[in-house]
């Protein structure tokens, strides 16, 4: 009963440092990433936002004078056309990816665990080789004097080479090719997560194969579909090199527009304003995604 707090207990109080080292460990883990993200993501993007309201001097210097003219230019008629076209290409690429990826992922998800692992690994393997080199392979194959046209002409199937790249179709092909796996992975994950019992339960309750697909499988894989669509659509708007390589430079994505402002026109404020639009569009899609019960972790491509 009698508390004998005497000299014997002194060392115990010394170990207060235990809580100090605990704090040290905690911040040692949290600070590097926090500071890095602050300095190289948050501040740069804030700066882009600020720039979008600034003026420029003639040679591209930024003049810290508030203006809304950049946004006026953002919404100028000819830019709107590019957005429309860019969003169009992005949307078509997304839909094409979805139409290919969904059945593909579904059929793989139906396989055994070993086959699944192997097939999904095979989906990722091509991405280990350089995207541009792979993209250029399509040019090699599909240009007017490419492998396909040459072969077809040799065989007498066609007499005039088909125009398959250096046009909008070429851009879509490039986008689909590079981004398909980002559609496949989240869809596969969401399908693979579906409890097989649910499918049996539906079957038990009289659902046919199509009804199961329509009523159970598709609704339950919606987060994956949405994640895939985001992971294809948003980057496609920015992939300027795809339209450069595959489109012959005549079609422009929003990414090309931004790149132009930064790399050639030296109009950083305008480029920033367009970027801000792109950021806003991304945020809107993300909010929708989360509202629909999407899991952000699905966006990492894992």
């Amino acid at each position: 009963m009698e508390k004998s707090i005497d000299s014997e207990n002194v060392p115990i109080t010394k170990t207060k440092s235990h809580y100090f080292s605990k704090t040290l460990i905690k911040w040692g883990q949290i600070l590097p990433i926090s500071i890095w993200m602050l300095l190289l993501v948050v501040i740069p993007l804030m700066y882009v936002l600020i720039m979008s309201f600034m003026s420029r001097d003639f040679y591209g210097g930024i003049v810290y004078k508030f203006t809304l003219s950049n946004f006026a230019q953002v919404f100028a008629g000819q830019n709107l056309k590019i957005y429309a076209q860019s969003i169009g290409i992005g949307a078509v690429s997304t839909v094409v990816c979805l139409l290919i990826a969904y059945p593909f992922a579904m059929f793989i998800a139906q396989k055994g665990p070993v086959a699944k692992t192997i097939l999904m690994a095979l989906v990722v393997v091509p991405s280990v080789s350089n995207s541009l080199v792979r993209l250029f392979s399509w040019i090699t194959l599909l240009r007017k004097t490419g492998v396909v046209n040459t072969t077809l002409e040799h065989l007498g199937i066609i007499h005039h080479p088909l125009s398959m790249v250096y046009n909008t179709g070429g851009i879509v092909l490039g986008m689909v090719y590079l981004l398909l796996m980002f559609m496949i992975i989240p869809i596969f994950n969401s399908l693979d997560r579906i409890d097989h019992n649910l499918i049996e339960a539906a079957e038990d309750l009289g659902a046919t194969k199509w009804q199961i697909l329509k009523e159970i499988v598709i609704p339950l894989s919606k987060p994956g579909i949405f994640a895939g669509c985001i992971m294809v659509f948003i980057p496609s708007l920015g992939y300027f090199f795809v339209s450069d390589v595959m489109g012959g430079g005549t079609s422009t994505m929003m990414g090309n527009l931004i790149e132009n402002q930064f790399q050639t026109s030296r109009n950083w404020p305008l480029g920033s304003a367009i970027s801000v639009m792109l950021i806003v569009l991304t945020l809107v899609l993300l909010v929708l995604f989360q509202r629909r019960g999407g899991d952000m972790a699905d966006l990492g491509g894992r």
């Binding site: 007017k144 004097t145 490419g146 046009n167 012959g248 005549t250 790399q263 050639t264």
Partner: protein, 325 residues
Amino acid sequence: AKHSKTLNVIGWSEYVPQSVLDRFTKETGVKINYTSYSDPDEMLSKVLSSANGTYDMVLAPGMYVQILRKLGRLDKLDKAEIPNYQNLSQTALNEPYDKFNQYSAPYLGTVMGIAYNAKKVKTPIKSYQDLLKPEFKDSLVTVEDSRAVVGCALMATGHKINDTSKAALADASKYLAKLKPNIKIFDGSSPKTSLINGEVSAGLIYGGEIALAMQNNPDIKVVYPKEPVYFAYDVFMKLKKAPNGTNVDKFINYMLAPKTSVKFSEAFPYYNPNKQAVKLLPKKLRDNPAVTVPNNVLARSQTVLNLGKETTKIDKVWNDFKGDQ
């Protein structure tokens, strides 16, 4: 950096052969980092947005001497270090952008000619206007060079290449709007490629590129329109606070040596202003009108100059042309 062993050059892509650079490295031990661009505005952007000292020298059209000087980005060349400067032909010197040859040394000259594939193009092309014909729908290539292309449009519609008056630009815009449907590819780096591999049947492109295309595909021919043509020198410039400044002079001197000049001229057969080198050029190149631009063509050529703020007007015409489908 007195004994620096590197040299950071920013210059056109497909314009300086790697072998020439490698030889310089071998001879002097100086490693060259050659950053390429396909649109001179890209160069300007990079130079301006990067910290001083990022690049040591620039290889760009002559008018950029004016621009970079105005921005205080150029240093004078140390002519004493460049004895080979004397090899240059008088015609290439004292150009309006560098009246006293203090800041630049010409490398090669570019003419814009019309290249066509004789197998596909039957009716002869005589004028810029001929490029507007519907038969060329979706089958032209042009360079990604705003001043050059808008310049051609100005000349095609009877104006001067540096004219930025409303009327002139309106005419040029109209011309370009009609040209647009015929353009399949914008290619600033290697417009020859699409000509060679048959993706396009004609193009408004740089002389050297035409010559290369002709070498690779005998069906390719060159023609100069009856209107004035574009001609410009690409010149070397030394950037301010270049950490490897002495290497710049050394490098220019090396490039102006006839032995070197022949090498790059063979690889990229543009108009060569080096009198000593021209003598050494193979006959085939000397006789090719795409390389050795005929005097009458040179006579009606015009060159682009810096237009200061007026440039934005050209930019707008260019952007409308490129962006609008």
